[in-house]
């Protein structure tokens, strides 16, 4: 099994969620986001962020405004839109569910009756 591939799929899967999470704390410009994502080892090449931001903006999750910078050109500060907040809340719920799923899968012996648990999981997943 190619673990590298699975890992990269996982990272890809949560990239969008991570960006939204970062922006919930405070508006940020691309380089801030890149630094934090790099620290979290979520992206390899920086360029990945730009198409992503462009898409989120087109979907109405993000908005941006120009701010003068002390050094260099003016910067685009991205922030969540109300719609983005709503989407993020939804993703939070989904994430919690995922966490729970993983938790359950990791400790199968905590709850002995298997049938109900199994149906619970499938109910949550669908």
């Amino acid at each position: 099994m190619n673990t590298e591939n699975v890992k990269s799929q996982m990272r890809k899967g949560m990239l969008e969620y991570s960006v939204l999470l970062l922006l919930r704390r405070q508006p940020a410009y691309a380089t801030d986001i890149i630094t934090q994502l790099k620290n979290a080892e979520l992206i390899v090449v920086e360029g990945t962020l730009y198409p992503l931001l462009s898409r989120l903006k087109r979907d109405g999750m993000l908005c941006y405004q120009w701010q003068e910078s002390t050094q260099g050109p003016p910067r685009k500060y991205y922030a969540l839109t109300p719609e983005g907040e709503k989407a993020l809340d939804e993703l939070d719920t989904a994430w919690a569910a995922l966490e729970k799923t993983v938790e359950i899968l990791k400790n199968p012996l905590t709850e002995t009756p298997q049938q109900p648990t199994g149906s619970d999981i499938s109910a949550e997943q669908h």
Binding site: S8, K12, L15, I43, V44, G47, Y50, Q71, P73
Partner: protein, 568 residues
Amino acid sequence: MKKNFTINLYGMLFNIDEDAYQLLENYLRNMRDYFSKRDGGEEISDDIERRVAELLSEQKEAGIEAVTIENIQDIMKRIGNPQEMDCEDEDRQSGQAQQHEQTPPPTPQFQEEKRRKFYLDGRDKMLGGVLSGMCKYFGGTNVLPWRIIFILLCFVSFWGAAIVYMVLWALIPEAKTAEERLLMCGKPVTQENLNNEIMYGMGSATPAAQGGNGTGYGCLTSLLTMLVTCLKVAAMLILIGLFIGLIIFLGITLISVVCVALDVSIYFLSEDFWLSYVMALAPSIRWWALVFALSGLIVTFIPLYALFKSMTLVKAEDSMRNTTHWGLIATWIVALVVAVVSFIGFISQMVYYTKVESDREHAEYVKENTRNGMYLTEASWEFLTESGWKILKLENADNDIMDRGESMEYKTQEDVSYEKQQIEFLSLEQENKSAPMLYDIGKTLEVSPGLYRLAALLKTDGQGNAFYAKMGGNIIFQKDINEYMPADTSATHRTTDFIYRKRTTPEMDKVLAEEELIPFDVYIQVKERGTLDYGFSNDKALRNNPWTATEFKVVRMRLELVDENTVK
């Protein structure tokens, strides 16, 4: 030592080495080309460029004075090339579209299989890069032999190869991104190759060809571009002309098809509209014409459309896929073959039926203009009726007795009304040279006894002609006429005085001399009242000479009573 530029990126100035600049420019352009195909692509590219500026300014702050190629390579590694960016981002994008499909989305950018695509090579080109692209498509490395063969082909095919070149140029897209360049050269599109292509492939290709630092070559390219634009406009005008012509042709064809189907006369278009008239002749002509018009429209429309696109859209957004191009080219070639074949069919049918029709018309005309077994042109019959001449016998003579080409009427047209009144011109010419001509032409007059004078101007090329006068079937006067040059101009003048009742004008003198006319002047004694038949003939019964002429012309003949009592 390296040459150094100063560049301005979003208001910030950087000193950059020449090779580093080249690489950076290629990198950014590749990025722009890649993202230009999608929504908001411009913005993505701008943002990335801004990020490059930021990274460069970081380096500047760290104390790097001039940006080197290594710096740029670092930045490129950090930001990544477009394919890498999409790789990390792509699954989510296509995942949205494929929510209901459980199969993982394929990653088309990273197919290991070796594929080739036909692109124009913009980086190694003389005109459009068609040959260069073709050479790479077939795995060649040196374009020069291709070019030489192409030029030879142009001459051999009467510029047919040049037309094919223009069509390909208009239809095939240029390889712009690194990925497209790899596909063009048939190298597998892998991460490594892409990086190599961006880093080295672009930098190593003749930098002057990119028109950045315009020297002599730049001037030449702009001149070529201008020439090419002119050629394109000219080609477009010709194609538009052809297109409109073909539409009109199609219209005529359809009208004649409808007219024939409804059994309406085609002549409502115009009395003698030859084309529609011919088309009404036979169904096969109309079908050939219809096929030709339709295929011709396709043949002209495809390059016209391609030219139009290439001229209006500066940067065609991948609007046509390669398969569409080949489809169009295939359609064009098929249509061209059909058009040529149907054109040949149409023309040959038209020639055939036109001939059949004109033969039929001629036969009808001959039938209409045959009297007493003799066929003469309509104008000839008219002339005979008006002038009072009668044709008694005519064998093996030209059907047109009006020799207009050499007629006096024609030559002295300054005073047309006078000439029309005074000159009658009757011309008899042998038709078949192997058989003798036979003629007998004459007039009749009711006469009373007296002395009559007859004068005429004649022209003949041989002996055996005779003038005769008959009364009640009996010859009362006969005189042979032979060719001769009128040396005695006074004789001519005497005769013309009598014929025209006045002296001739100097112009007419000149014409009479040129025509070598013989003055014919005789007196006839009429002894009793009756009908006088007089005229010219080469009938054996009337002449005293075994020879006969092949030409006999009469310019005006006049018979008049000069003395009632005198008996000569």
